[in-house]
Structures are given as C-alpha cells and as structure tokens.
Symmetry: C2
Subunit: 156 residues, 2 copies
C-alpha cells in the first residue's frame, strides 16, 4: 500500500506511543487504513509475543485492538467532517474503556488482522467494535470507547 496510515499523520509529539508511534523504536508501530467503512491493520507478532507456546499473548491482542481503535477514532472524526487527516484542527484520541473477549486461542506465527467499525460518534466520544483474526478466524472481539484529547493537551 502506498497510502499513508492514520498513524503517519500524527505529529511527532503524538508519535511516541509504544503501540502505534512511528518514532518508538521499541514499540509495535502498528499501521491502520480504511477499507470501505471499516478500518484494518495487519500485525505480525514476534516469536516472544507468546502466552503459552504456540499462542499469542492476550496483552498484545488488547494492545493491538486499543491502538487500532484510537487511530480509527481519529480517522472517523475527520471523515465525519469530510476533512483530510492533515487538515486543522487535528483530532487525537485516547482510550476511555477497552473490552476484549478472547473467543479462542490465537495462533502465533501468522499475521493478525485487526478490523474496526464505528458504532457511534457522540460529541468528543467515538465508540467502536473490533475483531482480531488469524487465518481468517475471529479469535477476539473488542469494544472500545475513545475520547478526544482535550485541546490544552494538544498544544504540547
């Protein structure tokens, strides 16, 4: 893909996140894109992202859903205003609530696909549903409430 990911529009100050910051050398550096009305991110876990041998660590699954959804919230907020992601004023979101249901063990060694869709945009809040799949099977479901970062924090 040659299009920029949601996270590539974040300014440097917002690009330090362990989950999605392009400037965090230790981090996961996830990338999220639109796919129709859904958003999608693909992530290849490292061998050490294990729970029990052969399966992906649940904390990583929560982290991927979390960061993919805060990126989705920002992208959805721009789209709701019919604006490009590089236009002002900027939208940045943080997680208020994260719920993950682990439906089945997630195999380690294959790329994971995280998809999200917006359930509701209400004021400064975006509510989303997400899935995490491996080999085409949904292994976890997420429900995330993200809130827009207060303006005074944006000025940093």
């Amino acid at each position: 893909m040659t299009e920029k990911a949601f996270q590539d529009y974040y300014p440097d100050h917002w690009s330090q996140c362990y989950g999605c910051g392009r400037l965090n050398a230790h981090g996961l550096q996830i990338k999220s894109f639109w796919d129709g009305d859904e958003t999608v991110s693909t992530f290849q876990p490292k061998p050490y992202h294990t729970a029990v041998p052969g399966y992906v660590y649940g904390g990583l699954i929560a982290s991927l859903i979390d960061c993919h959804c805060t990126g989705t919230a920002a992208a959805a907020a721009y789209r709701a205003e019919d604006r490009a992601m590089d236009t002002e004023p900027p939208f940045r979101f943080v997680t208020a609530a994260l719920h993950v249901d682990y439906l089945k063990p997630t195999p380690l060694g294959v790329p994971l696909e995280i998809r999200a869709s917006v359930e509701e945009i209400k004021g400064r809040k975006v509510v989303m549903n997400a899935t995490l799949s491996a080999d085409g099977l949904v292994c976890a479901r997420g429900h995330v409430v993200a809130v827009q970062v207060p303006d005074h924090m944006m000025s940093k």
Copy 2:
C-alpha cells in the same frame, strides 16, 4: 520479599508468557503476591512504555491487569481448596474477558501497583476486580474473567 510469587510456581511450559513468564527474556516478568484477601504486583515501566510523553501506554496497563489477574485466579483456586501452589493437580488460567476503564492518565516514571480481588469463583471460572495505581492514585480499573485451562492442554 522472600516468598515466591504466584508465577514462580508455574512449570516451564507455562512460564513463556510475555506478560508473566519468568522464562521470557523479552517480557514483562510480572510477579504477584497475596496481601491479605487481595493480590498485589508492582511494576516499573520502561521509558519507552509511553503513550504520549510522560504517560504510560494503555496497552501496558491492560497487559499488567490481565496477567496479574490470571495469576490471581490460580492463587485463589488453590486457596479455595486450602492447598499450596506447588501441590497437584495444578491450576492454570487464561483470560476469557478483559475490561479496562482508564480513569486518568497514568504518569510514567513511578512504580505502578496492580491490585486484584476475587469477586466470584464459579466452577472453572474466576471473576476479579483490579485497580492500577500510581503515586497512590487509582488510574485504571479492571474487570477480568479467567477460565481454567482445559486438562488436555495442561499435559503439554
């Protein structure tokens, strides 16, 4: 503390977890202990465990609550049977559902204290409530449902 942590009782096969495995060199290696009827774990985030500069990444918070609670579930199951953690048959738990409410930004640079208490033990399921605090302030709350690993997976 000289007492063994819950995680130190896990056999090698169950000690690979990125969050709590004593044998995962890349992982967080959290340690959990009883403190009366609650369980407690203390964790010092690394500087790169950041969300925006100065604050802890939400995925780490979810991960800490997750692994502390699966350890708590095992410890509570032994305690419910009035057995030591090194007695047979072993109890190991995985997460079925994880809910985290992020109440306020968690400062980076200080130790985090994760506490959990058992809400209910029902069959193979343990339901827990958790808090994550920094500088004595609760920054996040968790609610976790853990389920006992099926016997056929225990034999590995």
